[in-house]
């Protein structure tokens, strides 16, 4: 056995940080390793670590501890790295909750009404600071269980690295979708002026949102590639040669009227290529320096438990407590191009929630010609 427990922890952390698409994911002692190389090494080492019944009995608690550490060390970091544009991630000890605070909405404006024309050397009315409002992010458990039959294990058909990878990916993806759902569900926290729903890209309305967000600081546009591809001037005379070249090369403009466009990753949601993983119709405009609207909280350690059954099989149960909340502020704007909503989510109940939210919002008519 080449690697010991601590080496395995390091290897798992390295894999978690590695870029799966880069030709060289990791270099060590002058040798380059691809992501696949790293995974193969982990698979081989883990299977050696607990490769037979005797070794398994000897090392099983180390393996479970390895799984717990991997999830605890890697998952919050992955969530932070993948969703850093939207999400603030915190890990708190068991039994703790996070209290997010923000300045009380409207208190600043209220205070300003006390700034008046005054007579010199008078006694002026006093005012007090509005203080802060606080939000708790409730956590609940996400988890799973996998069964390991004895003979399959002895035959070497149990792939520990694959099992861990599925658990990590599953949890990561669940949190990713929860973040998306939380963002969409929180739209009713926004002023109606900050939301536009249209069945196409409406430059005028989009620019109006941009100016709202810009009023609070230089804004950045977050959207999917599908959305960015439509986010181009409608009038051909406005294209420079450079823009034409950029559009041809990249399929989109990296910059929209001076604001950076950040592409959110998307994928295909099924093997027939008929559904998108993420609803492409949403675009978020956020000013720089804005507090990240999504709060993700991990509470306590990941917990694993092995249950040995009477047929000598083993069930491995895993769960972790996580909470996701979205707190919108009035400097965030949202544009939705429903023509891009090609993700069949009706059956998933997400659309129902979105529609319910939008009944409270004045949907801007895309044919409106008001200049911003």
């Amino acid at each position: 056995m080449a690697l010991q427990y601590n080496d395995l922890v390091s290897l798992m952390n390295t894999i978690a940080r590695a870029n799966p698409t880069a030709p060289v994911a990791y270099s060590f002692n002058g040798t380059n390793y691809s992501y696949q190389d790293l995974n193969d090494t982990l698979r081989k080492e883990l299977n050696e670590f607990v490769g037979d019944y005797r070794h398994f009995r000897e090392h099983k608690y180390e393996v479970y501890s390895l799984i717990e550490r991997a999830v605890d060390d890697v998952l919050p970091r992955k969530v932070q790295e993948n969703y850093q544009m939207f999400a603030e991630v915190q890990t708190v000890p068991q039994g703790d909750r996070v209290l997010f605070r923000r300045k009380l909405s409207g208190a600043r404006t209220r205070a300003k009404q006390f700034v008046t024309r005054v007579g010199m050397a008078g006694v002026y009315e006093v005012w007090k600071l509005g203080g802060e409002e606080s939000f708790e992010v409730p956590t609940s458990a996400i988890g799973t269980a996998v069964q390991i039959p004895l003979e399959e294990f002895l035959d070497g058909r149990v792939d520990w690295a694959e099992m861990l990878s599925i658990v990590m990916e599953g949890m990561d993806e669940l949190i990713y979708h929860e973040i998306g759902a939380a963002l969409r569900a929180s739209i009713n926290q926004l002023p109606t002026n900050n939301v536009v729903v249209s069945n196409d890209f409406d430059e005028t309305e989009f620019d109006r949102l941009l100016y709202i967000a810009d009023a609070y600081g230089p804004s950045t546009i977050y959207c999917t590639m599908e959305f960015a591809a439509k986010m181009i001037p409608h009038d051909t005379w406005r294209y420079t040669e450079a823009m034409k070249a950029e559009l041809w090369q990249n399929g989109r403009l990296a910059n929209y009227k001076g604001r950076n466009v950040v592409i959110m990753p998307n994928g295909i949601g099924d093997e027939t290529n008929s559904r998108k993983t993420v609803d492409a119709s949403w675009c978020w405009i956020m000013p720089g320096g804005n507090a990240k609207p999504v709060k993700v909280v991990f509470e306590g350690d990941t917990l694993t438990r092995e249950e040995e059954n009477h047929d000598w099989s083993r069930d491995v149960h895993i769960y972790k407590k996580v909470g996701v909340a979205a707190l919108m502020t009035n400097d965030i704007c949202v544009y939705r191009d429903t023509s891009l909503s090609n993700m069949d989510i009706t059956a998933l109940n997400l659309n129902a929630g979105i529609d319910a939210v939008h009944t409270d919002i004045d949907v801007v008519d895309s044919s409106a010609t008001d200049e911003p």
Binding site: G95, D96, R97, P138, S140, A141, E169, G170, E173, L174, Y176, H177, E178, A181, A182, A185, G267, I268, G269, D270, E271, T272, S274, R275, K276, T277, E307, G323, V324, A325, M343, D344, I345, A347, L348, N349, L350, A352, G353
Partner: protein
């Protein structure tokens, strides 16, 4: 100020919500513990000791549905130092969940594709080698929580012979030999559905926090 009953229906409770002391519950040995269905949207509170149906067909825990009544027995999660065990009940307002699973329903009609020319004749050791491999469709879009649901309780299958102590009963007075059964709201009472199950009061005494309680044994 004296602490009062928080449970609106378990009138045997003196302080806080209903509680359970699991004196001898078979589920803790048999593993018949279920915790992967959300509570129905119209359920705002689930107290330990309440009974529910684990309605897998509908995809929610509810007071209606097929199957046997299961006992709610959640982990007690308290976040403030001044709270006691009796402060815990699963309250909908304490939870938020929108996505149930990162992968959605295994439904849909995949497009038929002809693979007969790829492997002919069929390779018996390969799954459907001349068939459409896409019939094993795996949606990778998320499955949302059912509309309006937010919390996922843990419920225990009970068996004849199970014994536990509780105050989660919709009665004000109880005596040894009273027979209790879950009512339509999931609370044990003397007027509950005894055709479904019967819990006999075997002792009238206290919970660990000295509130009045009864020890129950399932007899049918």
């Amino acid at each position: 100020m004296a602490k009062t009953r928080l449970s609106t229906k378990a009138t045997y409770v003196e302080r806080g919500y209903g509680q359970v002391e699991p004196n001898h519950l078979s589920a803790q040995r048999t593993g018949q513990i279920y915790a992967q269905l959300p509570a129905a949207a119209n359920i705002d509170v689930l107290e330990n000791g309440q009974f529910v149906k684990y309605d897998y067909a509908t995809g929610v825990v509810d007071f209606v549905g097929a199957g046997e009544w299961m006992m709610v027995f959640n982990e007690v999660k308290l976040y403030r130092d001044h709270q006691d065990y009796n402060d815990f009940a699963m309250l909908k307002s304490d939870y938020m969940a929108r996505v149930y699973s990162p992968v959605g329903d295994l439904t849909g009609t995949p497009r038929a594709r002809d693979y007969t020319g790829v492997v002919t004749p069929a390779d018996p050791y390969e799954v459907d080698s001349t068939d459409d491999p896409f019939h094993i469709t795996q949606w990778e879009v998320p499955k949302a929580m059912p509309e309006g649901t937010r919390m996922v309780p843990r419920v225990f299958k009970t068996n004849v012979g199970d014994i536990y102590t509780t105050n989660c009963v919709a009665e004000e007075t109880l005596a040894v030999n009273d027979i209790l059964a879950p009512g339509a709201d999931g609370y044990l009472s003397k007027s509950g559905d005894t055709n479904a199950m019967k819990w006999q009061v075997v002792k009238v005494y206290t919970l660990p926090d000295r509130q009045k309680a009864v020890k129950l044994m399932r007899i049918a």
